[in-house]
């Protein structure tokens, strides 16, 4: 082998190897690859598809053996998820059934199950908490991150690499490890189970992501633009707001969305630092299982309601996905 490396093939080259011509065999293998990749993609999607199906199944269809692929879709799961209901008996039930054509679709499903809707369920509140906390923490971490990222990108800061490492290292720590002291601290400060407390935790957690990602995006903007602006009499800060911010708009948007997804999906902090007022959707979905008589369709419906925003975002962001996950190290 070593001889081969040093001296070439060791036999005369008698035929040319053309790299510009695609042989039928290469074409076939190309097609085969494409087919395999498509099959892999389908396998990847099966579990999500199953979950989507389950969300629209009735209670008896969920536990059918073998699992049903074709069934009559119903919104039962969503009704169970989004409303509180009380059992109807005797005359009240008869009356409700007589009136079934005059009520909305949710009420109708409840009546078919012998129940009446008494109000919206906790889950709506949990989703609301998720939205408030995700947006609050994202706004804070993107604004702070943007300032820090610009400074790290453009100014000569002593100990820059160490500071950047310090900022990133916070994120590497398992949530459980960091939460114990934060839990005690929050109890003292009265931040336990508050929206503000969760916004602060997630801001801290996401700052590493926003600083690293945004620094990468700002690094890509040629520094000459700002220098020209400075020469033109802009102040540093004006150069930042009028030149850099518009140029970094795509990057800021991508970073914002990543931050939103991370908060939206987070479970460990929410589990340990909230109980009632500020509890977000992921631990709420998880505790639904704890109660007696598992309503799989309600869980699937909750999961689906929770996933749809993420799916939309993934497609909007597909060019930046890898970059976001690796803190800007890898560009797709």
């Amino acid at each position: 082998m070593s001889n081969f490396e040093q001296n070439g093939p060791g036999f005369p080259v008698t035929e040319s190897i053309r790299v510009d011509k695609v042989s039928p065999r290469a074409r076939l293998s190309h097609a085969l690859r494409a087919i395999v990749v498509i099959i892999v993609a389908i396998i990847m999607l099966v579990p999500i598809f199953v979950m989507g199906l389950t969300a629209f199944k009735s209670r008896s269809d969920v536990v059918a053996i073998p699992p049903k692929i074709i069934f009559e879709p119903t919104l039962e799961g969503f009704v169970f998820l989004l409303t509180n209901r009380s059992q109807l008996r005797g005359e009240a039930l008869e009356e409700a059934k007589a009136n079934i054509d005059n009520v909305g679709i949710f009420e109708r499903i409840a009546i078919t199950n012998g129940q009446s809707i008494t109000g919206p369920s906790d889950f709506i509140k949990r989703l609301g908490n998720s939205v408030i906390i995700a947006f609050g923490a994202t706004a804070a971490s993107v604004v702070l991150g943007l300032l820090a990222a610009y400074a790290f990108s453009r100014f000569d800061i002593p100990g820059k690499d160490d500071l950047m490492f310090f900022i990133l290292s916070g994120r590497m720590l398992p949530a459980v490890v960091v939460t114990i002291p934060i839990f005690l601290m929050y109890r003292q400060l009265g931040l336990y189970d508050t929206h503000l407390g969760m916004i602060i935790v997630y801001t801290v957690f996401n700052l590493s992501l926003t600083v690293w990602l945004l620094k990468g995006f700002i690094d890509e903007i040629p520094v000459e633009y700002e220098e020209a602006a400075l020469v033109d009499g802009y102040s540093r800060f004006q150069a930042f707001t009028k030149i850099v911010l518009p140029q970094a708009a795509t990057g800021i948007a991508a970073t914002t969305v990543f931050s939103l997804i991370f908060v939206w999906n987070e479970y460990a902090f929410a589990l340990m630092l909230t109980s009632e007022t500020a509890r977000t959707a992921p631990p709420a979905i998880a505790t639904m299982l704890g109660r007696g008589g598992i309503e799989w369709s309600a869980i699937a419906a909750g999961t689906l309601a929770f996933l749809i925003p993420v799916l939309i975002v993934i497609f909007a962001l597909r060019r930046h996905l890898l970059r976001g996950v690796t803190f800007g190290a890898i560009r797709q």
Binding site: F4, P9, I17, V36, V40, M44, P47, V50, T54, V63, A64, P67, L147, A148, Y150, F155, I157, F165, I167, S169, G170, M172, L173, P174, V176, V177, I180, P181, F183, L184, M185, I200, V204, E227, A228, A229, V231, G233, S235, R236, N265, E266, Y267, M272, I285, A286, I299, A300, T303, F306, L307, L311, I314, F315, R318, L321, V325, T326, F327, A329
Partner: protein
């Protein structure tokens, strides 16, 4: 203040001397500090300070539900932890989890990367689709896999062709044909981890593959090197740095994200068979006796381990960035 682009370009090209600006009071140094310190302060207050606090607690017998001052214990907590068998069990479960999932993800991810290496029509959409599982909330993913793994009406057994309804395999309870089969639940969790993260590893490796210059392969073809030789001497060494990054990244994640996934699927069960280290800390700190001091000590041990791995990770990231 002329802000139009035309003016800006003009000035840049002719390089007219900068107008002295009296109004500019902030030096670059001050501005840099003003921009960085808010971030640093919030990190110090809510990240560094709590960690010092828990370092203190780890030397005490403090319990979050006991309303008395923590008693100093010295190294007793650490000693107890190192002597306890349960700790090593958790570490070995975490270890098996990491080795199995990262190993499978690397092998499958490499295969997938080689497959998507050549673009074809629609490959962009497909590479996005396969990333979907990774972006989902691990605990929610765990929950719906719990449904898929359900022994009687789950899809997994159905697709396996199981029609033995009396004693169907129950993966999350580690039961196969009615017999307890230790390790099955961990495998089931690992499978979901692999489902979630293989595409990520594949895309990392793919970005490494794309960076390999074509002339290396052309030279190899001219030298009539076999494709195995090309793979071993060109492809593998060129993507090795990215594979290392993938391994380190997934290892760090296994300490944190494995918590969400296993909590969603098994909650550490059956009989502690999937009790990864994070779940163990959680149970000690927030359930039962609330042994805050003891769990802080355990958390600190994990912390040091994770910091060491992330140090390696970031160094390799920087290398990959420059290379």
């Amino acid at each position: 203040m002329s802000g139009s682009n035309a003016d800006l370009m003009d000035v840049a090209v002719t390089e007219s001397p900068a107008k002295p600006k009296q109004r500019r009071t902030l030096s670059d140094r001050t501005l840099a500090n003003l921009m960085i310190w808010p971030t640093l302060i919030i990190l110090i207050a809510f990240n560094v300070f709590p960690l010092f606090y828990s370092l203190f607690l780890s030397f005490t017998d403090y319990s979050a539900i006991a309303f008395r001052e923590p008693q100093w214990l010295g190294f007793e907590n650490f000693q107890r932890i190192l002597e306890s068998e349960a700790l090593w069990t958790s570490f070995s479960i975490t270890g098996r989890y990491v080795v199995l999932s990262v190993g499978l993800e690397l092998i499958l991810g490499f295969g997938l990367a080689l497959l998507i290496r050549e673009q074809f029509r629609g490959s962009g959409v497909i590479t996005t689709i396969i990333l979907v599982p990774m972006m989902l909330s691990p605990v929610v993913v765990g929950l719906f896999w719990k449904l898929i793994y359900n022994p009687t009406f789950g899809y997994f057994n159905y697709l396996l062709g199981v029609n033995n309804l009396a004693t169907p395999p129950d993966f999350l309870a580690s039961r196969w044909a009615g017999q307890p089969t230790p390790g099955l639940a961990l495998l089931a969790v690992v499978l979901v981890d692999v489902w979630m993260w293989t595409p990520f590893v594949a895309l990392l490796i793919y970005s490494g593959l794309r960076a390999i210059p074509d002339y290396l392969y052309e030279a190899a073809v001219i030298d009539r090197a076999s494709s195995w030789f090309q793979f071993r001497r060109i492809t593998l060494p060129q993507v090795a740095p990215l594979m290392l990054i993938a391994v380190l990244f997934r290892t760090i994640e296994a300490f944190s994200k494995s918590f969400d996934l296993t909590m969603g699927m098994t909650g550490g069960g059956p009989a502690g068979q999937t009790e990864v280290i994070a779940i163990r800390i959680y149970q000690q700190a927030f359930q039962g006796q609330l042994q805050t001091g003891r769990s802080s000590a355990l958390a600190y041990m994990v912390l040091i381990l994770v910091i060491a791995i992330s140090n390696l990770y970031i160094r390799n990231l920087n290398k990959a960035k420059e290379g």
